[in-house]
Symmetry: C2
Subunit: 146 residues, 2 copies
Amino acid sequence: MPVAVPIQATSEQLASVRYNDDGLVAAIVQDHSTSEVLMMAWMNAETLEETLVSGRTVFWSRSRGERWRKGDTSGDRQWIKSARYDCDGDTLLFLVEQEGAGACHTGERSCFYRSFGEGGPAPATTSPPWRATSRSYPYGVSCSPT
Amino acid sequence: MPVAVPIQATSEQLASVRYNDDGLVAAIVQDHSTSEVLMMAWMNAETLEETLVSGRTVFWSRSRGERWRKGDTSGDRQWIKSARYDCDGDTLLFLVEQEGAGACHTGERSCFYRSFGEGGPAPATTSPPWRATSRSYPYGVSCSPT
């Protein structure tokens, strides 16, 4: 089982985060070993702090208006390896060890399993390993906290 | 010079995109060769269509309230290799060939060059190549369209 590694952010670092009018900041989650972008969700100041202290991703569900800790229902927990923030502080990037089947409630490893265009993803020669394994999936599904 | 490759999205694919109350959708940009997450910005329906048709990223600047095509000022254009959308359609993911110095107006290749915690990023053994080259940068800078 992965080990939780707390991150001790400085007050200066935390003060660099800019929340939107709803008190939320966008959080991108990327697999630290494959570099696959797994999902994007939202955090408020409390769930960001819990994420850093606990070493697991904790989000704020805009649709349900409540905190959700990734993997509590599904077992697909995300363990933080690195936590970054962008130049203007309004987007976070977490590199994680993804436990279980993946990040998406559909069963896909990444929530970004669908491509625009008939041809789909770029040619296999430039594809990272995860692209080749992405299955097609019916349209119209809705993503839920898992 | 990279070649623009238009993506012909179907109406069903475009209809899967869910815009927020401001008519915007989040767009993550990832380097297609290194898998580095470069930046996150916003698109409206018009700039998404222009992005797909032109093969270059075009965003909507929330702060300036206007369209901006990445690289028109800086030369740091982004050429689309693959365009994806997530399970609930409210986030896009573009894999691009990044031209020039990088995606960030600070001179960093990625906007996510700062880490929470004193120790910085994860150990070098699990680092993709781009992490080792990320320079430190003063806090408090603001990201601008370039």
